[in-house]
């Protein structure tokens, strides 16, 4: 049950041109910084990236966009990124926008063996184009399908070599559902602990979903919108 790998490079080993990746995080919070760096270094390209956001120009998935490694983004919101905008407007980058809740549920469904489900989100909008509509209790819903990924790149707080992981604060966000949905799920943690150190009652994602795990280095954890109030 030992899923420990030595480095981010070993974590993403096997990622090939044209593959589909899921990347956890909301904005820059809880993103797999080490895996992203390793992907940039690897030069792999034509990737389809499923991630709620697309980073900023010089951090997160933005770094991969700078290197033109991304062919398609599947996201709910992609603001705050000039290079992204440029590539999208020139048609270099394909973008599939998905309601945030549907994105989360479609990842969970992928991991949970639910191929499709009905949701009210997006009915009557362009998101519903080409999708089946059905009424339940008089309310219209659309059929959404599961999302899968060749690799899911996940950032957790702590984890053990069996792949059990826990998250901290809102850095949790999409990481757990993506951990469930990857054919190969790679987890980078801030702190690697011994099996048994994590209370089994409070493990967020059991090791069964995880194929590789390593302790990430030098987390920057950049803050996108630093908002404060003065001390009273």
């Amino acid at each position: 049950m030992n899923k420990l790998v030595e480095s981010a490079k070993e974590g993403i080993a096997g990622v090939k041109d044209g593959m589909t990746l899921m990347l956890g995080g909301f904005g820059l919070c809880g993103i797999p910084e080490n895996c992203i760096s390793a992907l940039v270094e690897s030069g792999v390209k034509d990737l389809t990236c499923i991630s709620n956001n697309a980073g900023v120009d010089d951090f997160g998935i933005g770094l991969m966009l700078q290197q033109r490694q991304v062919k398609k983004m599947i996201s709910s919101y992609v603001g705050e990124n000039d290079e992204f905008e440029r590539q999208m407007l020139t048609g270099e980058l394909e973008v599939d926008l998905i309601p945030q809740g549907s994105l989360a549920e479609r990842c969970r469904a992928g991991g949970a063996g639910i191929p499709a489900f009905f949701t009210p989100a997006g009915y009557g909008t362009e998101v519903a184009l080409g999708k089946e509509v059905r009424y339940f209790n008089g309310k219209p819903h659309i059929l959404e399908s599961a999302l899968h990924a060749d690799y899911a790149l996940v950032k957790a707080w702590k984890g053990d070599r069996y792949g059990n992981i826990i998250f901290k604060g809102t850095a949790r966000n999409f990481n757990p559902v993506m951990a469930m949905a990857g054919k190969i799920t790679v987890v980078e943690v801030e702190e690697l602990v011994e099996p048994g150190e994590l209370d089994p009652n409070f493990i967020h994602i059991p090791g069964v979903f995880v194929q590789r795990i390593f302790e990430g280095k030098g987390y920057e954890k950049r803050i996108e919108q630093r908002t404060t109030r003065p001390k009273e």
């Binding site: 909301f26 904005g27 820059l28 919070c29 809880g30 709620n52 996201s75 709910s76 919101y77 992609v78 603001g79 905008e85 999208m88 407007l89 973008v95 926008l97 309601p99 945030q100 809740g101 549907s102 994105l103 989360a104 549920e105 990842c107 969970r108 949701t119 009210p120 989100a121 997006g122 009915y123 009557g124 909008t125 362009e126 998101v127 998250f167 901290k168 604060g169 809102t170 850095a171 949790r172 966000n173 999409f174 990481n175 757990p176 559902v177 967020h204 954890k221 950049r222 803050i223 996108e224 919108q225 630093r226 908002t227 404060t228 109030r229 003065p230 001390k231 009273e232």
Partner: protein, 236 residues
């Protein structure tokens, strides 16, 4: 859990004429709709300001769709936590008794109608409750974020916005011209000029901003407007 009274934001006052409400007053009026014990999701912009005006004696808990219940005010300078942000990606704090969860659980709450009120901004609202707030054809499209899930699910949706756009055109329409975010979902609109309910027959005028006349509201409303009896001024 207690009222979030100390959120400080850099406020841009509305450039409308003096009689109309500013952004804070719109938020303050919406805050009057809050009921004790409600869970509330506030969108970016004016809705965020609602947290500053929770009425005395009312306890509400704020849900942030990135996975946080019991959102508190911004942190004191130097106490920002990169692992604790709201859906607007701003650093925040948590109230005592709050909780953290993943994105699928967050939208389970929203879709399952466990959140009693959603307040969000809009570019256009139609008199049947349709809302458009995510896309302007020809302009850079950033995405709908959680807005489509929120409007499709919440029982109670209040839109906070200015009554007209920068060109002076009505944002309360017979039919939305922009791509929709959701259909027949908005229940109430609070603008810098008026409070209006969405009814089967159109916008029903409930209250006027102090000093604004029914005629002025009528002139600024392109959708069907129902005016019955005396329309009182808002109370703050």
């Amino acid at each position: 859990m207690a009222s979030v009274s100390q959120v400080i934001l850099v406020l841009k006052l509305s450039n409308s004429r003096n009689l109309m409400l500013d952004r804070n007053q719109i938020a303050q009026r919406i805050a009057q709709e809050l009921q004790d014990g409600w869970y509330v999701n506030l969108g970016i912009g004016i809705p965020t300001l609602v947290a500053n005006y929770i009425p005395e004696g009312i306890n509400v808990e704020f849900q942030s769709e990135n996975g946080l219940l019991g959102m508190g005010p911004f942190p004191y300078e130097g106490e920002e936590d990169a692992d604790l942000i709201n859906a607007g990606k701003q650093t925040v704090t948590m109230m005592n008794g709050g909780s953290i969860f993943d994105s699928s659980m967050s939208f389970a709450m929203i879709r399952g109608q466990h959140v009693q009120l959603t307040v969000l901004g809009a570019m256009e609202v139609a008199d049947n409750g349709d809302i458009a707030n995510w896309k302007i054809p020809g302009k850079m499209v950033k995405g709908m974020g959680g807005a489509m899930d929120l409007v499709a699910s919440a029982d109670n949706i209040i839109v906070a916005m200015s009554h007209t756009n920068r060109k002076g055109q009505s944002k309360l329409l017979r039919q939305c011209s922009l791509p929709l975010t959701g259909v027949k979902c908005v229940k109430k609109v609070v603008t810098n000029m008026a409070v209006l309910d969405i009814t089967p027959n159109g916008f029903k005028l409930l209250e006027r901003a102090p000093g604004v006349t029914v005629e002025e509201i009528q002139a600024a409303t392109e959708g069907r407007l129902i005016v019955e009896g005396d329309i009182p001024e808002m109370n703050f």
